[in-house]
């Protein structure tokens, strides 16, 4: 009976690979020997491991070395205060949790640490926000295909606003030049034109992250480093992302980008108005994408692309506000979304004059 009770308490155990018969306790030598056969769980997996003396010594030496290193950097009297603070920040940053699960105070703490660590490294102040989603806001976007002229001011503004890597030509927005009379043919479209625009007999269509209401990218993330915020923005915790690129493969719209190398931004072009989930400086090996300029939109501003567009082809607003222009477009213009049949429900509509 005791055996069964203890098993019940361990509800979290996955009995993968273990013999199911061992649970039934077939041995007849009494209860004590039975309990010895219990599977190792939690820390027991580490502590109750059987190993010979040689491996034990090896492990102890390795962990001692590691620990000594960490302690010597964080507690050493010899190294300067700056180094000490740096490694303290590093230590705390290393063991912080997923941003999604943080309380407001924890969010502020990590943001302060990141700001301080940037200041220590580059002797330059940045401001980083951890502002949560506003109440009663659901962001939506509309794009007028008739009006886009292919000027790419949006791409330029986006790269600068979001501190994207200049070396790899990273860009969230793609402007596809499509031939008139061939429909929306993305295979034949050119998204890296350098000739004078608008080219005769062509129209232009921008794509980026659509911030789907049912985003397939967040379903596949094995570590839940990407999720949909309350205001409908799909975000990534760059510190939680492991760079597996499942989300990139799951996105039907090619909305996500991967940092193959350390992002490089010219110092004078760095945007210091940052948000934890937005344009703060990324690391090598993490995903990033359009966040509807979360650092701007949560303050009531328009995303950089909307502000930069000289033709007014880009519209942004609160879908829940019946007086907003985005709602007027949805209700009065002929709108469509890409790959509607997938049920992803993008919050990004295209329309024509």
């Amino acid at each position: 009976m005791e055996q069964k009770k203890s098993n019940k308490n361990k509800w979290f155990r996955l009995n993968l690979g273990s013999n199911s018969k061992s649970n039934n306790c077939e041995c007849k030598s009494g209860l004590e020997s039975c309990s010895n056969k219990q599977l190792n769980d939690g820390y027991n997996q580490k502590l109750n491991i059987s190993m010979d003396r040689r491996t034990a010594f090896k492990k102890i030496t390795a962990s001692l070395l590691l620990g000594a290193g960490a302690i010597s950097t964080s507690c050493s009297v010899i190294s300067g205060d700056v180094n000490k603070e740096k490694s303290e920040i590093e230590w705390e940053e290393y063991f912080k949790g997923n941003y999604k699960l943080m309380t407001n105070d924890e969010k502020k703490e990590t943001v302060n640490r990141l700001v301080r660590s940037y200041e220590l490294k580059f002797e330059k102040k940045i401001s980083m926000s951890s502002k949560n989603a506003n109440e009663d806001v659901l962001f939506g976007y509309a794009f007028n295909i008739s009006k886009c002229q292919g000027y790419m001011d949006c791409v330029n503004a986006c790269v600068q606003e979001n501190n994207q890597d200049r070396d790899s030509n990273m860009r969230y927005i793609r402007i596809h030049e499509m031939e008139d009379g061939r429909g929306l043919n993305f295979d034949k479209a050119d998204d890296s034109f350098g000739h004078e625009v608008p080219a005769k007999g062509h129209f232009y269509m921008g794509t980026q992250c659509y911030h789907c209401e049912n985003p397939p990218c967040i379903e596949v993330c094995p570590v839940q480093a990407t999720w949909k915020e309350k205001d409908g923005i799909v975000v990534i915790d760059y510190d939680w992302c492991i760079g597996c690129r499942y989300c990139m493969a799951a996105c039907p719209y090619d909305g996500r980008r991967f940092n193959w190398s350390e992002p490089k931004i010219p110092e004078d072009e760095l945007n210091t108005e940052q948000h934890y989930l937005g344009n703060r400086i990324r690391k090598k090996g993490v995903m990033e994408k359009c966040t509807f300029c979360i650092q701007r939109s949560r303050k009531g501003k328009n995303p950089a692309c909307v502000e930069a567009c000289p033709t007014g082809a880009r519209k942004f607003g609160n879908l829940l506000d019946p007086e907003s222009d985005i709602r007027w477009i949805l209700e009065n213009k002929k709108v469509f979304r890409l790959k509607e049949d997938l049920g992803t429900e993008p919050k990004f509509w295209y329309y024509m004059d």
């Binding site: 009663d136 567009c309 519209k315 007086e323 222009d325």
Partner: protein, 202 residues
Amino acid sequence: MKKFLIPVSLTILIFLINACGFSEKHTSVYNIIQEKTVDSTLHSSWNLLQHDRLIKVTEDNYPEFYIYERKEIIKNYKCSSCHKEDLDVMKAATSTFAHSDIKFFHTSLEVMTCVTCHTPDNMDVLHSTANKSIDFNRSYKLCGQCHQVQFKDWKGGAHGKRLGGWVAPRVSKTCVECHSPHDPSFKSKIPAYPAYLQQKRN
């Protein structure tokens, strides 16, 4: 047979539960929009705007919005500071055309000339085709006479560039802030994205 009945029925049950779960999970944006309505004055981006220049536009059946006034920033306004006399008298007095910098590419001169919009006997105002006076600040009324589709879209918010943020109230650019009335079409140019262009040149 009984041996198989339980696992088979279990599999079917699990499948059904999963199927139901999926359909529940799918949310439509349109449903969300219909279910919830918020007060548009909840948030504010007033600080992004030049308050002293705002003019309210109220048109029937359209939400109210604002534009910036124009007269303060038109360089040569008031026009009457030069146009003190009647146009014909001034034309006779000098042989040079003072506005030779203005090239007219709006439409054929058979359809419209300077005086289709400008008023010869009062240069400080414009006028409609029915000779009703229109203030320079309300020049959209003039454009809206012919470009009615664009005018409707502009009033609704589908056409035109919005200023400030996404938060109500809406402030839009007026027609002539993007389209020069004398040469209204957008011009072709080299795309702005510099990093890409550099690569192309190399």
